[in-house]
């Protein structure tokens, strides 16, 4: 582990960080987010950040794996193939063109969305070639057969990698259990059976349907002015079809027949995830749930779950709770990993901790402390361009109000103990929580 820093105290999950990031507070200046619709009907969100000579761009489509239908894995492989051939360029040339000007190209897909991103130096001699390549990748992908087969094979390897990861197994099983027939049930990576039969026309159809200007949210943060951002945003979508927004993701109907699933797996630890669908982005209860979760298990040390599981009993390295709101009802999840022989004890402590919180809600001290943490830490959330682009993309994609940050202070300050208790008991039902365990069952269980 040479360069290896064994990071040690907390496990911070990226998606949680993004979820938290939408909360902030405003005793400090917030960056001005400018918003407009470009000439092709795409929503654009822009923050000028002239301090460093660099620009971040992210274009996000409502084209996540929730749009796969029964072709699981389609959204991910479509997104991944964009830079594997575009216009007259092959994958090698695309990679060279970005890297010879020091640009970083990125792509990503989750259940709700698919995105392409670019980080470049802002000087024209670096930016222009990077942007030319980016626009080509975005609007003229060729989906070469050879690339499709290669990426299909690599996806199959990634699926096999999940089989040797108890962390992936438990998360996939939880989503399948919570979402049943809903589009959120399947993993973004898909299944071996579905990935094996994806065709080039599936991919072309998916691209034509979803990678369109009407379905695009553009976020720009960096060293350029409004006029520059407008012209950049117009360029991005100039060669995309106009298309239309897809219909809304259907609401989640959660009616579990059972509430417990164990997967036998030869690990020394059992991975535990417990949860149920909770709420969508933009839900009116979101602030109360967020502040409550901060106290329950969302803020690491000092939060109830971390204290009960790790600090008081030494049962796990990582124990947490989070809400992951999506377009439709995203899950509330609590979880940990513990040595197999401690599973029963850890589960009991976890249930008891959640039950007590649902029963009593937070106390005055906990609520005041959570508000101090969130309020005083606000400047950290927007201190870098990379966190700003996350934040702006999130606001844009989920249609959160532009003054979301500004209004947040008051909203957090006004949350009461009673509101937290009420929203938690409304959303989280102890008898409906679904429990997944992956590990070795212990004799007698």
């Amino acid at each position: 582990m040479t360069t290896l820093i064994t990071p040690v105290k907390k496990i911070v999950m990226v998606f949680i960080a993004v979820a938290l990031f939408s909360y902030a507070q405003l005793s400090h200046a917030t960056p001005e987010i400018q918003h407009w619709q470009n000439t092709h009907g795409s929503e654009v969100y822009f923050v000028a950040a002239p301090e460093l000579p660099m620009i971040d761009i992210r274009i996000t489509f409502d084209a996540g794996s929730a749009r796969d239908g029964d072709k699981h894995g389609l959204a991910l492989i479509t997104n991944g193939l964009l830079a594997e051939g575009a216009g007259t360029l092959d994958a090698d040339t695309i990679a060279e063109r970005f890297e010879e000007v020091g640009a970083k190209f990125g792509n990503s897909t989750n259940r709700d969305s698919a995105a392409l991103s670019l980080r470049s130096l802002s000087q024209t001699k670096w930016l222009k070639p990077a942007l030319d390549t980016f626009v080509t990748v975005l609007s003229r992908p060729t989906f070469p057969d050879i690339a499709l087969e290669r990426e299909r094979q690599r996806a199959l390897v990634a699926l096999r990698a999940q089989k040797q990861s108890p962390r992936a197994l438990v998360a996939n099983a939880l989503y399948e259990s919570l979402y049943g027939a809903h589009a959120y049930a399947a993993p973004t990576l898909g299944y071996e059976t579905s990935v094996s039969v994806l065709t080039r026309s599936d991919i072309e159809d998916f691209y034509q349907r979803y990678y369109v200007a009407s379905n695009a949210t553009i976020a720009i943060v960096g060293d350029l002015d409004r006029a520059g951002a407008e012209s950049l945003a117009n360029r991005l979508t100039a060669k995309l079809g106009k298309g239309e927004k897809p219909t809304a993701i259907e609401a989640v109907a959660y009616m579990p027949k059972q509430k417990r699933l164990h997967i036998e797996y030869p690990s020394t630890q059992t991975h535990i995830m417990v949860g149920m669908p909770s709420h969508a982005r933009g839900d009116e209860d979101h602030f109360a749930l967020f502040v409550g979760n901060h106290i329950l298990g969302g803020s690491g040390f000092g939060s109830r779950i971390t204290k009960a599981i790790r600090e008081d009993r030494g049962l796990a390295y990582s124990a947490y709770s989070y809400f992951a709101p999506l377009r439709a009802q995203g899950p509330f999840v609590v979880g940990l990993q513990t040595s197999n022989q401690q599973t029963t004890e850890a589960l009991q402590v976890l249930y008891d901790t959640v039950a007590a919180f649902l029963e009593e809600g937070p106390d005055d001290h906990e609520l005041a402390a959570a508000k101090r943490d969130i309020v005083n830490g606000f400047p950290l959330r927007i201190a870098s361009n990379s966190s700003l682009i996350d934040y702006v993309s999130l606001i844009g994609f989920y249609g959160l109000p532009l003054d979301y940050l500004d209004a947040f202070t008051n909203k957090v300050d006004n949350i009461s103990k009673q509101q937290i208790r009420d929203t938690f008991t409304k959303r989280i039902k102890l008898d409906q929580l679904f429990t997944v365990t992956v590990g070795q069952s212990v004799d007698g269980e």
Binding site: T2, T6, E99, N376, S384
Partner: protein, 461 residues
């Protein structure tokens, strides 16, 4: 697992002539160094972009300071640093930081242990008060230790025991090094964790946690003189104590290839190979180190590198293939290559194409275009790195902690730029040879048969 430290994390680089003034900023600009009488070093870098700061304290102790029987102790001590002093009992640290909206954490590596807090800019005193207090006043309560050592064992299980590639890496590393403490895993061997005592920790804490073994780095929207005054208030009353330099324990010269097989429940085959190479501290010829860094980027410095183009695409033998080389180490280190074969391909086939690539490095000069592309990435990465105060602070802290002057961050540019194609060829011939090589292969065992459980650790009661 291991993190990659290619060129791209190094620092400012070439092509400055082509750039306009904003890019000509040096990494060391607006950076100030102060040394206190007790030996504590304070480095402050002003970055007024956002009203925030990061405060880090680095101790020169890590797994390469350890001995058989107490491996992992630096990391366990790092956990225990949150378990209270007389002034701030267990839990107080977390509460005070969160009351102030801070983020905090800690890290342990082979060569150092670090702690950090990120705050809104007005709250630096909180960091200094807490860190100065726990530099000397840690209580190390036995009851807290008994819980926390279990947390560390859970951490080891999570990161290593149940991760077949990490398990392979750990045993590979232990086979590659015989006489050097580089062979120890940072997290420690399980049996050492099971037999660690609070007395071991008291001794380790007394030995290494002293102002004359620490570096404080602050980056952010701060006034260096104010930072200095605050540091003086909190840290200067602490007395220096004797810190005996660790014995070098240099690795013996390897004289023949070593191979090993690791069996573990797994689905995918995996292999890792590593050649013994020097670090910035151990190199007789420093230019070797920079040439190795560029060589690493030729093979795996982005999606236009040779591995991506020729192994993942091209021959399609690899599902993944990568390199790793950290020039920033106290002792001799490894140049790694690891990979997973593509669906239907074997480890043998993947090894073959990698061997071919190494042979090409020895026989053909790297093209000018490849070198220019790598240099462009280094230039850009230096700018991108400035987006994060923590990243800037960590670069400084890590260099100081392995015994290098942080000011060399300004030299990376020139030294990377100076690397010529023939230098890469030279170091390939010099270091990438079988006598220097250790190779480990993961032999996947069925996942559908439960393996015997690890017996309950005797630490439990």
């Amino acid at each position: 697992m291991r993190t990659k430290q290619t060129l791209l994390s190094l620092g400012l680089a070439a092509l400055l002539a082509a750039m306009t003034p904003p890019l000509q900023a040096k990494p060391s600009d607006n950076t100030h160094e102060f040394i206190f009488d007790n030996g504590l070093k304070l480095i402050v870098k002003e970055d007024h972009r956002a009203p925030v700061l990061v405060s880090q304290i680095w101790y020169k102790v890590g797994s390469t300071y350890e001995y058989d029987g107490i491996t992992g102790i630096s990391h366990v001590l790092e956990h225990m640093m949150f378990k209270g002093t007389k002034k701030f009992p267990a839990g107080a640290f977390d509460r005070i930081v969160s009351d102030n909206g801070g983020r905090h954490n800690a890290f342990t590596s082979q060569d150092y242990t670090g702690y950090y807090q990120e705050f809104e800019k007005s709250r630096l005193a909180i960091s200094f008060e807490l860190e100065a207090d726990r530099m000397r006043n840690l209580l190390l309560p036995e009851d807290e230790f008994k819980k926390e050592i279990r947390v560390v064992m859970e951490e080891r299980q999570l990161r290593t025991e149940d991760n077949p590639q990490a398990l392979t890496y750990e045993q590979f590393n232990a086979a590659a090094f015989l006489s050097s403490p580089s062979r120890f895993p940072v997290v420690g061997w399980m049996n050492d964790l099971e037999n660690m005592t609070i007395n071991d920790l008291h001794a380790w804490y007394q030995q290494w946690y002293a102002p004359n073994n620490a570096t404080v780095v602050v980056v952010g929207d701060v006034d260096p003189n104010e930072v200095h005054a605050l540091a003086k208030k909190y840290f200067s009353p602490i007395k220096a104590s004797p810190v005996i330099a660790p014995k070098p324990r240099r690795e013996i010269k390897q004289s023949g290839m070593r191979t090993l097989v690791v069996k573990a429940p797994a689905e995918l085959p995996y292999f890792i190979m590593g050649y013994k190479v020097p670090s910035l501290l151990t190199a007789e010829d420093e230019s070797d180190v920079y040439a190795l860094a560029v060589l690493s980027a030729v093979l795996d410095g982005g999606n236009s590198s040779r591995f991506a183009k020729k192994l993942v695409r091209g021959s399609e033998v690899a599902a993944n293939a990568g390199t790793g080389y950290s020039m920033q180490a106290r002792s001799d280190t490894l140049f790694y290559i690891d990979g997973t074969p593509a669906q239907g391909k074997t480890i043998g086939a993947l090894r073959k194409v990698i061997d071919d690539e190494i042979e090409i490095l020895k026989t053909e000069l790297v093209s000018k275009k490849e070198l220019e592309r790598i240099k462009a990435q280094v230039v850009a990465s230096e700018v991108y790195q400035r987006d994060s105060v923590s990243s800037q602070a960590s670069t400084i802290g890590a260099l100081e902690s392995i015994g290098l002057d942080w000011r060399i961050i300004d030299e990376f540019v020139d030294k990377i730029t100076a690397v010529k194609a023939k230098d890469i060829q030279r170091v390939a011939k010099k270091y990438l040879i079988d006598d220097n090589l250790t190779i480990a292969e993961l032999d996947p065992q069925p996942l559908d048969h439960a393996r015997p459980r690890r017996p309950a650790a005797n630490i439990r009661h």
